[in-house]
């Protein structure tokens, strides 16, 4: 892993992924591209079924058995993850990329105490022979870093004895147990209460900035993403439809889907509920031709049915895949 491109930590190029089903091949990812620079926080927003989880699982190559990667590359520190052998993959998963999942209860093993799970990580990832006391010290420090009150008690507890917010903090501690370069957070706060959500988001942000980690923050909760990331990718039906700096995406969305999403979100200031976006996500076995969003778009042109719009870069470090901007 010595080849080092200076800024680009992760670069997904033209990724096509499908799942084999009884009706045929479900062509979920349709040419996804995404890049994360060193120390950058990137958000990936999109609704359920748009392929965000598939993308993330492709990065770590933890896709289910009926998935096939048809085309594309995923470069991490210059090397293509999709071509890595088992040893390199193991190293990737242990040393370089960490993940936080949506459901902390499912991510923690219910039959082992927190200390055991944290200690296992430290032992296997570092591979150094440390004494039990040293490891415990390390665990305590980690738990303090994630602002857990009474870390001693937490270490000696089983996951079911902790609240949801505390479990998620433990998961964050596990993700940070060893030095990493990239953190992938998949809906880390969606299952938590609003007040706890706020605390956890602030915590992750603090830790990430302190450790200079790059982050991919995946969520369908637009507000949470806005408070956390520098740059946003908007995904629809396996396509990246828009990319921009956070401010720009939320104040001046270009793609009709992004606009629809923002309009559909209820505002704290009132103003009623918009009508949402007509239609439903496409059938991936028989996706619509051309732009996958055209069947639901209220600004579609005749070209949209025939040809898939290419992704064009625009001023201000943004880009959009839409015929309206050609």
């Amino acid at each position: 892993m010595k080849l080092n491109l200076p800024k680009n930590l992760l670069k997904i190029n033209d990724l096509y992924v499908g799942y084999k089903t009884y009706r045929g091949l479900s062509k979920v990812l349709n040419g996804v591209h995404l890049s994360v620079n060193v120390g950058e926080r990137v958000g990936l927003i999109g609704e359920s079924g748009c392929g965000k989880t598939t993308t993330m699982k492709s990065i770590l190559r933890i896709l289910p058995s009926n998935a096939e990667i048809n085309k594309g590359e995923i470069y991490f520190r210059g090397k293509d993850v999709l071509k890595m052998d088992k040893k390199e993959l193991d190293e990737l998963r242990r040393k370089y990329i960490a993940m936080i999942f949506q459901d902390p209860t499912a991510a923690l093993n219910p039959v082992f105490k927190v200390e055991t799970q944290l200690a296992d990580l430290i032992k296997y990832s570092l591979g150094e022979a440390k004494t039990k006391e040293e490891i415990r010290e390390r665990c305590l420090k980690l738990l303090e870093e994630v602002a857990l009150p009474d870390p001693e008690r937490v270490l000696d507890s089983y996951p079911f004895q902790l609240s949801g917010g505390m479990r998620q903090r433990v998961c964050i501690a596990m993700a940070l147990a060893t030095p990493r370069q990239l953190l992938i957070a998949d809906e880390p706060t969606t299952n938590l209460d609003v007040t706890i959500q706020d605390q956890i988001l602030r915590l992750i942000k603090d830790v990430v900035i302190k450790r200079k980690l790059s982050v991919i923050f995946i969520s369908h909760a637009l507000g949470a993403v806005r408070e956390f990331v520098d740059r946003v990718y908007v995904m629809y039906a396996g396509d990246i439809v828009e990319v921009a700096q956070t401010e720009d995406i939320f104040s001046d969305p270009l793609h009709p889907y992004t606009r629809g999403l923002l309009e559909s979100t209820p505002k704290l200031t009132g103003g009623g509920i918009a009508t949402g976006i007509a239609g439903r996500i496409p059938d991936y076995v028989n996706p619509p031709p051309g732009c996958r969003f055209h069947t639901r778009c209220n600004q579609r042109l005749s070209k949209c049915k025939k040809e898939k719009p290419p992704f064009i870069k625009m001023n201000g470090n943004r880009g959009v895949a839409c015929w309206l901007y050609h």
Binding site: E47, S48, G49, S163, G164, G165, M166, D193, V194, T195, I196, Q197, D198, Q199, L201, H220, A221, L222, G223, A224, R226, E227, F250, S251, G260, L261, L262, S264, T265, P266, K267, L268, T269, G270, G271, G272, I273, A274, T275, G276, I277, R280, I281
Partner: protein
């Protein structure tokens, strides 16, 4: 600032005449409602002595996080649980008993839409059977032909084309569509009152918008009253006409929607509003400054004495730890239970 001691929502027996007037246009009145659960850990004080009323045709919002007791309140009103104590009055009738003891006419008049669309629909049945079930049980249709017609009508009302959905199974439907089916089932018996327990929490934002619009349209067309339970404050702002906020089994603030959001009084309300993730600068300005979320909700088995929020409250005083605050009317119809306002 007027100070009158009240039980949030309506005036207590002390001022008798006013009570008659208010109760006349209330479809549902909840008084001193308490629900405790006996578990192996101890007694869970899910709901403790709350009261409010819902007027005909309005959407009453109950907001709170997990453990607040809002879902339990909805369930007790529907009769899934029997109240430990207190009284529930529906259209003037006392219904403080579990559902199986309530008359059929009441069961027909109230329905509920649950939080999880996946579990709300029997996976082994077609959509037609699911929506038709209340009609069959209540005996509202004479024959199969009429049943089919009625189901078509209901599916059209929630904007699910019958020819595409009637014979599908729930697993073929998306979350929003499942929830639309649950709503169609809820309105099948032509009720006057529906409890909506986090109806869109499991749904994406664009789908949520459709469902909410369907609910609003139905409310107008069918003259429905809603008890809308959610933790999503931005959503509540746009659907409810009055809002009550619950924490650990008690209601702490209660106001018409615009007042609730523009002038939140209780520290918990402020903390909750300050934690809401928003999308625009205008919304940021509305959020209370100077207060950040801290702490976690204590266990409902041993709720803190005095004001239950005092363990997390940045403004807690000595009295808050020992004495429960009583409701005070701050402005017209805006009540708060907090020692800061006594």
């Amino acid at each position: 600032m007027e100070i009158e001691v009240l039980h949030a929502g309506f005036i207590t027996r002390k001022v008798g005449k006013l009570k008659e007037k208010k109760q006349g246009d209330s479809i549902l009145v909840v008084e001193n409602l308490t629900k405790h659960f006996k578990t192996s850990y101890g007694t869970v004080h899910a709901v403790d002595n709350i009261g409010f009323d819902i007027k005909y045709g309005e959407t009453f919002g109950l907001v709170g996080e997990s453990g607040s007791g809002k879902t339990t309140t909805g369930y007790v009103i529907m009769g899934i649980y029997a109240p430990t104590s207190g009284k529930i009055t529906f259209k003037g009738q006392d219904i403080s008993v579990p559902a199986r003891k309530r008359p059929k006419s009441i069961k027909r008049d109230m329905s509920i839409v649950f939080q999880d669309p996946a579990s709300s629909l029997n996976p082994a049945k077609t959509i037609k059977d699911i929506v038709a079930l209340p009609l069959k049980i209540q005996g509202l249709v004479k024959d199969d032909a009429e049943l089919e017609r009625k189901v078509e009508e209901l599916l059209n009302a929630v904007e699910l084309p019958p020819e595409r959905f009637m014979y599908r199974l729930p697993r073929d439907l998306g979350g929003g569509e499942k929830q639309a089916v649950a709503i169609a089932r809820a309105i099948a018996t032509n009720p006057s009152f529906i409890v909506l327990d986090e109806p869109t929490s499991a749904l994406d934002v664009s789908v949520q918008a459709k469902i909410i619009n369907t609910l609003i349209k139905l409310q107008k067309d069918l003259n429905l009253s809603y008890l809308f339970i959610t933790h999503d404050l931005s959503l509540m702002r746009n659907v409810a006409s009055r809002v009550a906020i619950m924490y650990l089994g008690k209601i702490y603030e209660y106001a018409p929607t615009s007042m609730f959001f523009q002038n939140p009084l209780h520290p918990y309300t402020k903390m909750l509003l300050a934690s809401v993730p928003v999308l625009s600068r205008e919304e940021e300005k509305l959020k209370p400054q100077g207060i950040k979320s801290r702490g976690e909700i204590p266990s409902a088995v041993n709720p803190p004495p005095g004001c239950r929020f005092h363990t997390r409250c940045p403004f807690a005083k000595e009295i808050c730890k020992t004495k429960e605050p009583k409701f005070v009317m701050f402005e017209n119809e805006h009540y708060v239970a907090c020692h800061l306002y006594h």
